[in-house]
Symmetry: C2
Subunit: 338 residues, 2 copies
């Protein structure tokens, strides 16, 4: 690789494309032999007659931020989307859209983060595609990750399965990812370390389903739009009201402080290593105990419940005893957060 930046020719499909693929991308991501490179990957070990399938594109700005970069973010995000459906993440595709002029060192760092994240989540990167756009027609790097998961059981948690009496749990503090990216983008000095919470949640989900089975009604990761938007989606899908307790919401002092200064509400700030689960109220304490024993779950909390009403509302009982209605994010509170 003589040139140290991405050229338009790297997207031609010809010699430069092959060089980029053979000398940088494939050695890091997949180690698939050249003789095995075909238009589609063939994946073995499909054990169920159903599979989970998901896709996400990542356009986060900046591409590197405290605690991670767009690469591990893209892997964890797709791993988590598969996990939330109850599936075991199996294989991931990587579609890169590179802007002419991107440094190869920066690309290498991002690819290495992807590989590390995939290894940690025990998924394989099996197929990919690379395109190049001219300077000013992209923004350094966009990544699409699509993923396939298999089901090891009959459990299918869905957003429409919340029932009155259920409890709402979350696996830790909210708003860290969004605030880390925003602070990094705007050059804000938060006087304290706020890093992304980006993490793979598939091991925790597997443990929850194994231990608590059909008591796990809903699993959803509150990414773009935050906890508020995700709960509002679930309330509408299930046709139930959800009531949150403000005092129980885990928020770090740093994120709470930064949100106060910036006029943001942590309920709407993106997370990338959090899951919301809505579970049978009878076993909520046991589920909470399981979550707290898992990696990425030490600070899990019970934050609310499904009430007897069925208007698709999300309400929050505030610290001073009032009740306020939570709606979806109306504008672009935080664009390009993932």
């Amino acid at each position: 690789m003589k040139n140290d930046i991405i050229l338009l020719g790297h997207g031609s499909g010809g010699k430069l494309s092959h060089q980029l693929l053979d000398e940088l991308i494939i050695p890091i991501l997949s180690q698939v032999e050249q003789t095995e490179q075909n238009d589609a990957a063939v994946i073995d070990g499909i054990v169920s007659n159903q599979i989970a399938f998901t896709t996400d594109s990542y356009v986060v700005d900046p591409v590197v931020f405290p605690g991670g970069n767009i690469g591990d973010l893209a892997i964890n995000g797709t791993v988590n989307d598969l996990a939330m459906s109850g599936a075991r993440p199996l294989a991931i595709s990587v579609g890169l859209i590179l802007e002419e002029g991107l440094g190869l060192d920066e690309l290498r760092e991002i690819l290495q983060a992807m590989k590390l994240a995939a290894d940690k989540a025990q998924v394989k990167i099996v197929t990919g595609d690379t395109k190049v756009v001219p300077r000013g027609k992209g923004d350094r790097i966009f990544i699409n990750t699509s993923g396939i998961g298999v089901f090891d059981h009959e459990l299918r948690p869905v957003g429409s399965a919340a029932r009155p009496g259920d409890k709402v749990l979350i696996n830790g503090r909210i708003g860290d990812h969004g605030m880390a990216v925003l602070a990094s983008r705007e050059g804000l000095d938060l006087q304290t370390d706020v890093a992304t919470d980006s993490a793979p949640l598939n091991a925790m989900v597997a443990k929850l389903l194994e231990r608590h089975g059909s008591a796990i009604h809903v699993l959803r990761d509150p990414t773009r739009g935050g906890v508020a938007t995700t709960l509002k989606e679930i309330a509408l899908q299930s046709g139930v009201d959800i009531c949150l307790e403000e005092e129980r919401l885990p928020v770090s002092d740093a994120v709470a402080g930064a949100c106060a200064i910036l006029g943001l509400d942590p309920l709407f700030v993106a997370n990338e290593g959090k899951l919301l689960t809505i579970v049978d109220g009878q076993v909520a304490d046991e589920v909470l105990a399981t979550m707290r024993r898992c990696e990425f779950g030490e600070k899990s909390a019970l934050i609310g419940e499904i009430t007897e009403n069925s208007a698709g509302r999300v309400m929050m009982r505030t610290a001073i005893g009032g009740l306020r209605s939570i709606e979806m994010l109306a504008g672009e509170q935080l664009p390009r957060i993932c």
Copy 2:
């Protein structure tokens, strides 16, 4: 949808995102009910313990060109990648990266083309994602389509399976897609209609495998980099030499003329509705007859053979009897062609 253009807020994950999804994207692409929208799609009907998985991002410029647009191109491209592996395309994901300011009418037209193409190819669009980037950080629309295919048989054509004595077939004229996009982008008047050849080839592949089984050694679609680059890849993967006959290469007069004027070689120009197949020499004529009876195969031709040499070379016997070596595209002959 009061506004007639894409706003940054359409990518926030909040109210505007849901409106775009519920009022425009989902009604056109998938009709999945809101209560059924989860982080991953669950796909039924997985009948084999292997599946095919592929991904491609589309960044073509311009996004609308003679004979198609980026939408049907993205569907056909992924359908074809699955088909080339011997799989039956089953489900497709759609990842949209929209530039702030894109007209909703233009987006609607592209989505409608995607849906039509998916219906024609008999695949379902089952999951998706939409991101928005600020003006000047993208280029109207980029689309990632990833796809899953199932195998109805034990046949797995791969690039490493070409053998001496095999014949090389193609299902029609080359270079139309690349030339249509280039002419459209540069405002060239080719004095004649050159349109993209973008088309789904899965029905043809199914017929070929059903009729000729294991005599079909290699299937590959010569997209970016053209026929030359794809054959060079196969020659290297199989460790064989391929010899083409220039006089047998089907090229329309319009494409040949335009290439001559522009100094391009149609062998390197992208196709989006062509397949190369390398088949047992004993049955090549029968395979050719099958191809010619298929839709998109009327002008199929036998264009070359695998020789007894094994140096990974591609040679072309020219019209005047010479032999020239064909290498991969070296630079960016035609950037952003798909």
